[in-house]
Symmetry: C2
Subunit: 457 residues, 2 copies
């Protein structure tokens, strides 16, 4: 079975593959918002039918949340398990989208053709690169070069509450020799990457209550404690002047950066001025004694993702509110323990409150960081296949994001994972006007076709 | 003309007077929200017709914002000008109202009968106490005991943008011997009050911009500055640990409390534990070296009335937002200059920003504090009339709220103002479930009937 004919088929079939992706993108499968529950179901059904159409034995599996999709296709040689997620982020602020987020379209830009729409990059477009590679192998040779399982989740953007129970209940079915995950970025325009470190995640929603009801700031202002003032003090205290996070014990388990890895990262000549300049910034905001690449790949963070309290409408209302709220997330590295940090964070907030204010915490996701071992031979095979497809050789890199699935595969299925993706930094994932370059989609499909061939050797 | 027959008429007419107030309360005249512009107009029209029905020569006066209502009724003796406002505060959070805010009703509570609904206390109910007193005088004697002008505004809750131009254009028509303003509270259940000090107000809306668009906190977190972090630092820095406000020059013009006034205030035996306890608090939040009454009546404040940024919906979105916003108001005393403080505040915020973050300011209301002189003989006459109506003698007191109109009457019409009101601390003005005690309404009408009689002497 030759690879070249598969690659040619991919090139010829690209318009149809793009149409299939556009169909999937039209389904508004926002997993965090209960209003879109039926749409998540529709997306899962669509994927089951699409896998079945190419000869994969696929089924939808119900969970207490959104369904999983699982498929299997026989083949010779090693057994790989591919993971992606069909759910997408919310779309607000809607007014910043140039076109409706679920009416995707091809668009010509100065940097090339792009597929515009929510989920085009994260993760429907990436997920479909693998499906299309399988389709091409099947079309040309009637079979896959290796044994393949596929596993699609619908809760990745909302904390994956059903994932671990599902892995535990289906260990035998989901286990393979290695996992393939397509939810990450290229290192650069022409440089593919395999991510070997991923930050973990801890999410906390905080509500501070002062007075028992909203008050008139003229009648009570000065004498009654304002919970926004308390919340501001708490949030301001989370970082010191050097950008370090001040929660007691927060840095326990943060590893010293391996000098060899530091050397590799230096060799990447990462242009942090351009990276920050692209989003209107100039000054690195993290720990002042770390490079920007370290801040992004090897150091933990604390970010306020949302804040609200009091009157936020037009005009002015001199209210002294009863409550103030914030959503705070932490990216974790190395051996940092999300549950220990949750407890320390909560204690710190509690200790900062005036005696007559109260706080409630609503804990969302909590997952530790992942560090892949590259000992498995599949890593070097994938690196060769990627280097064959792209202008520059593939790199092992770190990632600031949190894809806890890789750690779960290790913990629950005893399986290493290769994180390979084709997104670009300007894809605006989680933001208005998300896009996926047509080149990412096309060369992504070709990359997986090559990787499947290489894994069969 | 005897007062007793007027008071008897008021007692007998109370059900009808209450019905008239309920009709006015049904008009949702929220001045700060453009969606209610027509309703503000409707409220003004209703008042014009009501004044005309009792023989007052009344008219609606257009402004660039909401209309004014002006009326005149001849009479012997001195000329008084009564001021009130027909606009009301927004009603959110709507879900905390037990009944719709604009479907007012009488309600029996353990503490007596109340009129429940937005504006019942602030200021439609208070405004109507004076109108009903005039109606009773007219009904019984066919005439008022003094010459009366009435002036109702529809922008008091939204910074009164049209007020000063209107005063300047209608100086001769609006000037009188003294102004009467009904927008304040009793000192206690049984103790009426004339307010002689009022705090001023400065309102600022702040928007801090970090990245040029919303970012993924995994891809950028740690390296890109989060504007909520910057805003929190700014807000946390506005007060020191002793509750003092830290804006440079903020306390310029704050007077030392007159020892005689301090003595009077001590004599009021204000129960700050009960005052704070009623709203679920125990610790005074203001300057630690001041009594609660000083914090409320004689000291300036800084409150965050609203804050928002990032994702505030259900679930979690790991966004690193482009913008963070806050609405901040300052209550001012003595000779504090709102415009100098605005400039100093803006400079302080600007100085706290990282070099690559920007801030924009949207200035709302700005008015200095007022200090009435009680030399005008009307003050002692009103104090006698109030003391005749209520169980305890009337007191001259301070007020934490800001009613800039009193200062404007002095500045633009060269007229002293007497601030007399019948609201109670538990009226929940600006909050859900606003109410006005039927006793406040009834004895308020009787109080004005007595004051008009006393001013004629």
């Amino acid at each position: 079975m030759t690879l070249d004919t598969v690659l040619s088929h991919i090139d010829a079939d690209l318009p149809k593959a793009t149409d299939r992706l556009l169909t999937l993108l039209r389904i508004p499968s926002i997993s965090t918002d209960p209003a879109y529950k039926a749409d998540c179901d529709t997306a899962a059904d669509w994927l089951v039918r699409d896998l079945q159409s190419l000869g994969v034995e696929a089924s939808k599996r119900e969970t207490p949340g959104h369904p999983m999709v699982v498929g299997h296709a026989d083949g010779p040689g090693p057994h790989v398990m591919f993971y992606g997620h069909y759910d997408v982020q919310p779309v607000d602020p809607l007014e910043l989208w140039n076109n409706p987020p679920f009416e995707p379209a091809l668009e010509d830009t100065p940097k090339g053709r792009v597929i515009r729409g929510r989920g085009s990059s994260d993760d429907k477009g990436q997920l479909m690169t693998f499906v299309e590679a399988c389709r091409a192998w099947k079309a040309v040779h009637g079979a896959l070069p290796v044994r393949v399982s596929l596993f699609f989740e619908g809760e990745e953007e909302s904390g994956s509450p059903s994932l671990i129970p599902f892995l535990k209940e289906n260990t035998a079915e989901l286990s393979a020799d290695i996992a393939l995950i397509c939810d990450t970025s290229l290192f650069g325009e022409n440089t593919p990457a395999i991510m070997t470190t991923l930050r973990g995640m801890l999410q906390e929603e905080v509500t501070i209550t002062g007075p028992s009801k909203d008050l008139h700031s003229g009648l009570y202002g000065g004498a009654a404690m304002n919970p926004i003032r308390v919340l501001s003090r708490v949030l301001a205290a989370l970082h010191d002047d050097q950008g370090h996070i001040t929660i007691p014990g927060f840095y326990d388990g943060v590893p010293v950066l391996d000098p060899e890895v530091a050397r590799q990262w230096d060799a990447l000549n990462f242009d942090h001025t351009a990276f920050l300049g692209a989003v209107g910034l100039a000054e690195p905001a993290g720990e002042t004694d770390r490079t920007v690449l370290e801040q992004l790949w090897s150091r933990p963070t604390c970010e306020v993702n949302g804040i609200w309290g009091g009157y936020t409408g037009d005009g002015f209302k001199t209210v002294l509110p009863s409550e103030a709220h914030a959503k705070i997330s932490f990216r974790l590295v190395g051996q940092q323990d999300p549950f220990a940090i949750r407890e320390s964070f909560r204690n710190m907030v509690q200790d900062m409150l005036p005696a007559d204010c109260t706080v409630t915490f609503d804990g969302h996701g909590a997952s530790p960081a992942s560090q892949m071992s590259t000992d498995h031979p599949a890593f070097e095979k994938a690196r060769k296949a990627l280097s064959d497809e792209w202008p520059n050789p593939a790199a092992y890199i770190g990632c600031g994001g949190s894809i806890p699935i890789a750690g779960y595969f290790k913990d629950y299925l005893d399986m290493d994972a290769m994180l390979i993706g084709f997104a670009k930094d300007d894809d605006q994932i989680h933001s208005p006007n998300e896009k996926y370059d047509l080149e990412s989609f096309h060369k992504g499909i070709r990359s997986w076709a090559r990787i499947l061939a290489e894994l069969a050797t």
